[in-house]
């Protein structure tokens, strides 16, 4: 059998011009049809127009600081004249310490500042897969203790600062993070309870989850602020922040429980059966086989739920707790600063956005990684 040398293969040719390369991309993604071109041009026009308008307002025409008047108070008349044309960042310049740390003693501001850094560090460490071990719980316990010590003080030469003086960003971070730290174990128990074969336990868990999820967070916060004092024996009192924290924990517990339950359900039946076949007891089976897998599965939705709480802590404004948003709103109560709410809300929004955006990008990345790992 003789084999002819291969007929020369048809050499690959360049695709018709305009369909590849930089031009091809532009054509395919921006100008693929008449309608598309029109939309692209119109949209680009509006983007440029509003971007210029925004830059003008936020930078070109903005006023960054204002002089003091005879009485030594800031004179905001220049800002008022500039209203609608440019932003008055002077309000931020003047009030940023108050917005960030509320009425915490001024010369002690380094303490809440360190607390914020510790929180961010805690988030970053928790985000690294290397630390996804039981020891992470210890790290959390340690950091949260240090945070409590820093905030209260009274030891190591730090003057005592009562809780009523706390405010601003640390409150937001405390409510969200302590909320998660305490709600998470609760959520695991409730999720396990909801899948339990014991009817009374299951019923209790279902009741708790459905009740909490059926009502708005506001109603729980109201409950915390007006009803909790009635619940406790006479003479015993807990402060407002703690009451709100309890409401947030109860609230978060119900939502997290549903997320965890999703993970428990996603595990294949084979895992449960294999664990049982090994002769493990219920708690061994759950602690050694089921939870480690289920919790890993639900980390992306957990992060998304956490973003939700992080935003929801702002609701404590309604019961008068001094979180970041309340501090911002309070900063502009003085008559001279009234009317500059937009600047303050934009700034506060930026802070929230940095936290939430980072977390949502992280969760999206993690999700695609986990999916990838599972597919392979």
């Amino acid at each position: 059998m003789s084999i002819t040398t291969d007929s020369l293969p048809v050499a690959p040719r360049l695709a018709p011009a305009l369909s590849v390369g930089w031009l091809g991309w532009v054509r395919a993604n921006l100008f693929s049809s008449w309608l598309n071109s029109l939309v692209t041009i119109a949209l680009a026009y509006f983007i440029v127009k509003y971007a210029i308008g925004f830059v003008d307002w936020a930078f070109v025409n903005a006023i960054w600081s204002v002089p003091n008047d005879a009485a030594g108070r800031p004179d905001t008349s220049s800002c008022r004249d500039n209203k609608g044309l440019g932003a008055c960042w002077a309000v931020i310049n003047e009030k940023h310490r108050f917005m960030l740390f509320g009425t915490y003693p001024y010369e002690q501001h380094w303490r809440p500042a360190v607390v914020c850094v510790l929180f961010v560090g805690l988030y970053i460490v928790s985000a690294m897969r290397r630390f996804w071990r039981m020891e992470l719980a210890l790290i959390w316990a340690a950091v949260l203790t240090v945070i409590a010590v820093l905030m209260w003080g009274g030891v190591l030469g730090m003057p005592y600062v009562p809780q009523e003086r706390w405010g601003g960003l640390p409150i937001t971070l405390i409510l969200a993070t302590f909320g998660l730290a305490f709600a998470f174990p609760l959520a695991i128990l409730v999720a396990l309870g909801r899948r339990s074969k014991l009817p009374a336990i299951k019923a209790l868990c279902v009741l708790y989850v459905e009740l909490i999820r059926g009502v708005p967070l506001i109603s729980l916060l109201f409950m915390a602020s007006v009803m909790f004092p009635l619940f406790l024996p006479e003479g015993m009192n807990i402060d407002k922040l703690l009451r709100a924290q309890i409401a947030i924990i109860l609230f978060a517990g119900a939502y997290l429980a549903e997320v965890v339950r999703g993970g428990l359900q996603a595990l294949s039946k084979g895992q449960y059966e294999a664990a049982e076949a090994l002769g493990l007891s219920y708690w061994q089976k759950t602690g050694l086989i089921i939870l480690p897998q289920a919790l890993r599965l639900v980390i992306p939705p957990l992060v998304n739920t956490f973003i939700g709480f992080f935003k929801d802590t702002s609701l404590v404004l309604i019961i008068g707790i001094f979180d970041l948003l309340t501090a911002g709103k309070t900063a502009i109560i003085e008559p001279m600063w009234q009317g500059f709410a937009v600047e303050v809300y934009v700034t506060i929004g930026l802070i929230y956005f940095v936290f939430c955006f980072a977390m949502s990008q992280y969760s999206a990345k993690l999700e695609s990684e986990l999916n990838h790992g599972r597919r392979r």
Partner: protein, 260 residues
């Protein structure tokens, strides 16, 4: 062999081709996936297309019913040239049935509804008539008893036979198969191949992308070997498999045989 011989006699060589591709080129971005494809297929002819993965087999047959658009050259199907004209597109989709590797049954519809959907909405057939037609084809692929179940309740082989029945319900003149058995477990491959052989016996014009050599030998009038976007060899199955003319085909055949 006798079955194959009777089958082969149905080819009408002097009629105009059912499908004709002339100088067809296609690119995905900068990737040249079809290179100067020339292929005429006569009415009643059965062609098996084989070649390594990524060689452009799927792309070629998907160009025939315009699931993909070609960028150069001319494709004529049943006397209609493929163009941007939507009318010609409708006409061609009616004449050409397609079976996919992953079945693509509609999971929210019963088997019967899967089969009657197009006859009712495209052929404007009364429901009763469409159902009678569907049952006829479901019997032909030997699963009439599953008619009221949902795709999720059927095995892979059964699903693929339903997919064949669904395509046949449009009474197409040409059937395209894109690796219909490669998503199936070995014990299910035979039931689908048997269905396809039976279809071949009715004189249907067929293009099958498949690596089932036994099927090719039994049914195909012609085998087309593709590699890197071009047609490298074509020929009668026995001749092609036993006496490959190019190194590329030799290599491919040795890989296939080793695989089995």
């Amino acid at each position: 062999m006798s079955a194959a011989e009777t089958l082969h006699s149905s080819v009408q060589t002097n009629a105009p081709p059912a499908i004709s591709l002339a100088g067809v080129n296609k690119w995905f971005g900068a990737l040249h996936v079809l290179r100067d494809i020339n292929l005429d297929i006569a009415l009643g002819e059965r062609v098996v297309v084989c070649g390594p993965s990524g060689s452009g087999k799927s792309t070629m047959i998907r160009c025939i019913n315009r699931l993909e658009e070609h960028q150069q050259g001319k494709i004529v199907v049943d006397g209609i040239e493929l163009s941007d004209d939507l009318k010609s597109l409708d006409a061609i989709r009616r004449e050409v049935g397609m079976v996919f590797q992953s079945f693509n049954l509609f999971p929210h519809l019963t088997i019967l509804e899967n089969c009657t959907l197009a006859p009712i909405w495209v052929r404007k057939m009364p429901k009763k008539e469409a159902e009678a037609l569907a049952m006829e084809y479901l019997e032909r692929v030997r699963i009439p008893e599953q008619a009221l179940k949902y795709p999720g309740q059927l095995s892979g082989g059964q699903q693929q036979r339903v997919a064949i029945a669904r395509a046949l319900c449009m009474k197409p003149k040409i059937m395209l198969f894109d690796e219909p058995t490669s998503a199936l477990d070995p014990e299910m491959i035979k039931e689908v191949l048997d269905t396809m052989v039976m279809l071949a016996e009715t004189g249907m014009t067929m293009i099958c992308v498949t690596h089932e050599m036994g099927f090719a030998r039994q049914v195909a009038d012609r085998v087309v070997f593709m590699d890197r976007g071009e047609i490298v060899e074509t020929g009668e199955p026995t001749a092609l498999f036993e006496n490959p003319q190019t190194e590329r085909l030799q290599l491919f055949l040795s890989q296939i045989l080793r695989g089995h």
